[in-house]
């Protein structure tokens, strides 16, 4: 066998083209068999997942070609929850954050900061001017909106981003998954924290942690932690890198929702700050690492940004800290310096 099959230059005989042409088109299954097997498979799927579905009849998959069903189907055929089912709760808001309830059509309601407003499925949200918002989609999944952003809450695990920028923290529980639909594609996390921006017909993904699967037209791509993936209006894809503690993530800290720390160990605060800032923790010695787990804090940090909260709360303890340029937060004991 010649080595032409391994050629990677276009000047060499195009063995790929030769083989594909010589082999000819793959045989299409008879439509009757396709329809029969499809109906049976859908019944098995419905029985397996325990849901009653309206069985689809219709288009031959071969006639339809490659269909971006993931994009359309997630938006159009997701099972409807009971009306007014809560799918999100407002955790924090700065500036003018507005919501439109499903069916309200044109009536926007300003959400009050601190209101813990419950948002039903189908709600729309938007942030005007320099406003930002943080929502809880579940016990473990949070969503933040930057200024100038408009979204719809399709369900508890599906958000449609119309324009602007959002940040998803899918939490630490295995199995959490959320989809973000944009006009340019659908991003799905595979256990992660990531940012999606859709502006001026351009889609940009930044992955802080984990992986994200992006469906764009008929293509599927994976972006890993530390990657930025951009798709412009022509469909051109560009990949670059972004560190988890890069300054481009800092807007997220301004709308971070702080945990309750009153009566809880310093460790809880440190873990939250590390997660929000994308930095890692380093302790001066094993004793300090142990003591942060037993030293309790008292107070309220709900309106503070992460590093502000750390500074304020550690001032009440025997611990000091410094944020290095190496992506680390070092913690030490002031009494043993």
């Amino acid at each position: 066998m010649s080595d032409n099959i391994h050629d990677s230059t276009e000047a060499a005989p195009d063995r790929v083209a030769e083989l594909i042409r010589a082999a000819g088109r793959r045989e299409a299954p008879p439509d009757a068999i396709y329809q029969r097997v499809r109906a049976d498979a859908l019944q098995a799927f419905a029985a397996r997942t325990g849901r009653r579905r309206r069985l689809r009849t219709g288009l031959s998959a071969l006639a339809a070609g490659v269909v971006a069903a993931i994009i359309l189907g997630v938006v159009m055929t997701r099972p409807a929850a009971p009306p007014q089912q809560r799918v999100a709760e407002l955790l924090r808001a700065t500036g003018v954050v507005e919501a439109m309830r499903p069916g309200a059509q044109t009536t926007w309601q300003t959400l009050m900061a601190g209101s813990r407003h419950q948002l039903p499925q189908g709600s729309r949200l938007r942030t005007a001017g320099d406003a930002r918002a943080a929502l809880a989609l579940s016990d473990d999944i949070t969503l933040r909106l930057d200024s100038g952003t408009s979204i719809s809450l399709v369900s508890a695990d599906h958000v449609a981003l119309h324009t602007g920028r959002i940040y998803i923290d899918a939490g630490e529980q295995a199995g959490n998954q959320i989809a973000v639909t944009t006009p340019a594609g659908v991003a799905r996390d595979i256990g992660t924290r990531f940012e999606v921006q859709y502006l001026d017909n351009q889609l940009r993904l930044r992955i802080r942690d984990g992986k994200v699967e992006l469906s764009h037209a008929s293509d599927l791509m994976i972006a890993d932690a530390g990657e930025q993936l951009s798709i412009d209006g022509t469909g051109a894809v560009e990949r670059s890198t972004i560190a988890p503690d890069a300054r481009q993530w800092q807007w997220i800290e301004q709308i971070a929702h702080a945990p309750e720390i009153d009566g809880r160990p310093v460790r809880v605060l440190l873990n939250w700050v590390a997660r929000e800032t994308g930095k890692t923790l380093r302790f001066s010695d094993a004793s300090v690492e142990s003591e942060v787990g037993t030293t309790l804090l008292h107070g309220d940090i709900s309106l503070l940004q992460p590093l502000q909260a750390l500074s304020v709360m550690l001032a009440t303890t025997d611990f000091g800290f410094a944020v290095g340029d190496d992506g680390q937060i070092e913690v030490w004991s002031k009494t043993r310096e």
Partner: protein, 203 residues
Amino acid sequence: MSDTQHMDRALARRILKGDEAAFTSLFDRFFPRLYRFALHRTGGNPDLAGEMVQQTFRKAIERLDTYRGEAALYSWFCQICRNTIIDWHRSNQRERATVVPLEDQANVRAVLESLTAPATDRPETATWQRETRRLVQATVDVLPQNYGDVLEWKYIDGLSVSEIADRLQTGVKAAESLLTRARSAFRKAMGEIADSTEAMSPP
């Protein structure tokens, strides 16, 4: 775990959660390929091939929660289909098909050359070439995503990259990139088949 396997695991999770759109998308992508896979292993019997694929989907749906991403999801389906066909042959007291698919054999290097060799009216060679064409088609079938479709559009239908982009509803650069990846994946797959075998001449 490769990116394809990550995506496949995520897809399996969505299906198990009841995402019908995800399931129908998977069915439409896998069915034609599985049907061809079964057709050759059932003596070219369309109804039997359809029955084998129907049973494959039922079994796969039932066991989907056991899929761990060790292999691509399509490969996992193929294994279920292969076992289903073997069981059918056993239960019907039939010997396995005497024509063992080339991709199930170890030696295929020279068949790749024979595929584009001049035509001949020797029946042995004609059978060989027919089987080789099927091997190439089977290789196209196991490529991920829609690579096989893109390769057929380009080299059999003669579509331009721009026309492929229109069909995919994407930009020309994205279509070019997809075609490049499809060529690379096909070349790699055929190369691995060739490299893993001893040289063998057609009859």
